[in-house]
Symmetry: C2
Subunit: 380 residues, 2 copies
Amino acid sequence: MKKYQLMAPGPTPVPSEVLLAMAGPIIHHRTPQYDAVFVEVRAGLKRLFQTSAEVVPLACSGTGAMEAAVVNTLSAGDKVAVVRAGKFGDRWLDLARAYGLQVVDLSAPFGHTVEAARLAEALKAQPDVKAVLAQHSETSTGVLHDVRAYAAVTRQHDAILIVDAVSSLGIADLPMDAWNVDLVVSGSQKGLMLPPGVGFCALSEKAWRKTRSATLPKFYFNLADELKYVAKNEVRFTPAVSLMVGLREALRLLEAEGLPNVFKRHDRLARATRAGVEALGLELFAKATPSPALTAVVPPRGVDSEKIVAAYSQSHNITIAGGQGEMKGKLFRLGHMGYAAEFDVIAGLAGLEQVLADLGQPVDFGASVGAAQKIFAEKS
Amino acid sequence: MKKYQLMAPGPTPVPSEVLLAMAGPIIHHRTPQYDAVFVEVRAGLKRLFQTSAEVVPLACSGTGAMEAAVVNTLSAGDKVAVVRAGKFGDRWLDLARAYGLQVVDLSAPFGHTVEAARLAEALKAQPDVKAVLAQHSETSTGVLHDVRAYAAVTRQHDAILIVDAVSSLGIADLPMDAWNVDLVVSGSQKGLMLPPGVGFCALSEKAWRKTRSATLPKFYFNLADELKYVAKNEVRFTPAVSLMVGLREALRLLEAEGLPNVFKRHDRLARATRAGVEALGLELFAKATPSPALTAVVPPRGVDSEKIVAAYSQSHNITIAGGQGEMKGKLFRLGHMGYAAEFDVIAGLAGLEQVLADLGQPVDFGASVGAAQKIFAEKS
C-alpha cells in the first residue's frame, strides 16, 4: 500500500469535513438553507481577506477572477503596469493584451522579484497608469512579491493595485485594508482547502470607483452587478452550490485555527521544506523572498525535474508538480499549503530522499528530514 | 421526519454514486489520473451532445458558457437575432447588449414560443444577421422551443444557430450534428445530475470558422485556445476537478441507461406531472410545447405562487421554484429532470395536493397522483 498524498501547489488536499459537507444533498441557491450558508460565508471571507468590503465569489477558476478584476476596472487602451516574474505574471500580460490594454512591462527573470522601487519609478514616469497588476505568491516560481511595498507606492497615484493572491490567501498575511491593496483576487483550491471552481474578487472603495467608468465589455463577470446581489445576500447566477457549502466548512476550520496561527503554520512548513531541501544540497529556485505556499527546487545537475515528479508519483503515490512552460524540466515544486501539516512535509522530504537515491544521486538518508525536524522542534 | 426532496428546475439532485466520487481525495489536473478521467469525459460528452466535435468544458455556470458562445463567434456591432420568450431568452438579450451587438428582437410573451417562420422571415429580411440566439428548453416558463426548425431555417443562411441547452441536454433529444445546430451551450446542474459549476460549449465546423474572425475580446472563455488543450486531452486552466470526476460518474449512469431511455423517462415524468397538475384543475403556464425538464404551473386564482413554494418547503421539506422576475408570484415550477424518477413525481404531486389543501383550496385527494399513475401504467 502506498498512501496517496497530494503535495502539488494546488489543487491541494481537501479535509474530510469539507468533502463530507459537499457530499450532502444539493440545496437550491434561492432558499433559506442557502441564505444561511451565504451569510456565514460572506462574513468569513471578509475576515479571511482582512477587509470590510464585500468579497464577491464567482463560479470560475482563479484565472476567471483575474479577468473579472481587469474587465471591471479598466477600459480599452488604458495603460497598466504588469509586475511579472513567472507564469502567473505572464498571465496578467496575456490578459492585458487580450483586452487591448497598453502594458508597462516590469519584468524580472523567473525566480526573482520586481523591486518596489522599479514600480515607483514607473508610476512616476508614467502617471497615466491606471492599474498595477501583480502576484503576491508567484506559484510558478515559489517567490513571494512584496505586495505591501507595491501598495505603499501605488496609493500615491491614481492607479489601483490588483493582486493575484490565489496562492497566498489564507497562507501569507495579506491585510487588504491595512495595506491599501485595491483589488484582491483569489481562488478556492489553495489556502482555502477546497476543490477548484470558485474565484473571488474583493475591491476597495477606490477600486469600486474605477468600476463606474471602466468600459471593457463584461457580463458574466460584471462585479458591480454581482455586488447588488451579494450585498442583499442573494446570488445573481447559479453559484457552484456544493463548493459554497464546502467553503463554509473550510472557513470554519480556518477560524478555529485562527488566521495568525494559519500564517505561522505555513511559515514553519515552508522553512522546514527549504531546510530539508538544502540539507540535500539542492538549490532553491527562488532567488527572492520564498513563498510560504510552496517550495520550488532546482534539480541536481543533469537530472530532468520531470523525472523527479514521475518518480514521486510512480514509486510513492505522491503528486508534486514540475515546472511550467519554459521552466519544464528545470524545477520541481513541493506544495505545503492549505490542508498541510508537519508530517506531510516530513513525508514529502523522505520521499525526495528516496526519489533522488532511485535516480542514482548520492543521498545522506535522513538529512532532509532531520533538518526539517529541527525547525519543527523550535518553540513557536 | 420529513425527507428532503429537491424538485427545483436546477440544481437537481445528485446521485450518491456521483457525490461519493466527488468526495474522494482531490487529484491534480496534470496527472495520468486526471488524463484518464478526461479521456472518458470527452468521449461521453460527444455521445451526450450527439456530435463528433469536441465539447469544451469550462469552469463556470451555464451563463458563463452562454457568454463564451457569444464572445467567440461575434464582433462588436454584429447583428444577432434573439429568440426569446422567458428569462433565459432575456439573458441572451442582456449578453448581446453588454457586448455591443445589434439585436433583431424576436420575442413572444412568456409561456409562448417563437415560430420558426418568424425567424425565417427575419433572416430573409436581414441577411446580415450573424447568429441566432435561442433556448431549447426555457427554464423560466417550461416551454420547449422548436430548435430543429430554427436550425433548418438558419442553415440556409450565413448565420449560426447558438442554442442554450442548459435544461435540455440529457433531457430532450437534441442531436446537434443531425439537426445542424452550430453551437450548443449547457451546464452541469440539470440533466447531467451534477452540482453547478461546469459549463459546456460544443461547436460545429461552421461555428469554429466564425471564431477565426470574431473580435470580441476574451481570455478566460477563449474557446479556440481551450480547444488546443482539449484536443490534446490537456487543460488550459485549473478545471473544477471534483466536478469533472463527478461528471465521469454521471456520464456512466446516463450511458448505462441509454440516451433514448433517458429521453423517454423525462417525457413520461413530464407527461405524468402535467396530467397530475391538470387533474387538480390547475393550468399549465406553457402555452406552447412543454419542456420535459420541468412543469410551470399557474397557481389557483387568488393564490400567490410564492406561498405554494413556501408551503412545499416548510410543511414538506420539498424544494420547488417560483417565478423569476416579473413572473414572481404568478407561477410555480416543478422540476423532473436529471436524477428524477416516477415516485419523485408522485411525491411532488402528493405534496401539491397537501399544499393546496393547506392553503384552503378544494382538493380531490389522490386525483393528481391517480392521473400520473395512469401515465406510468402505460407500456413504454
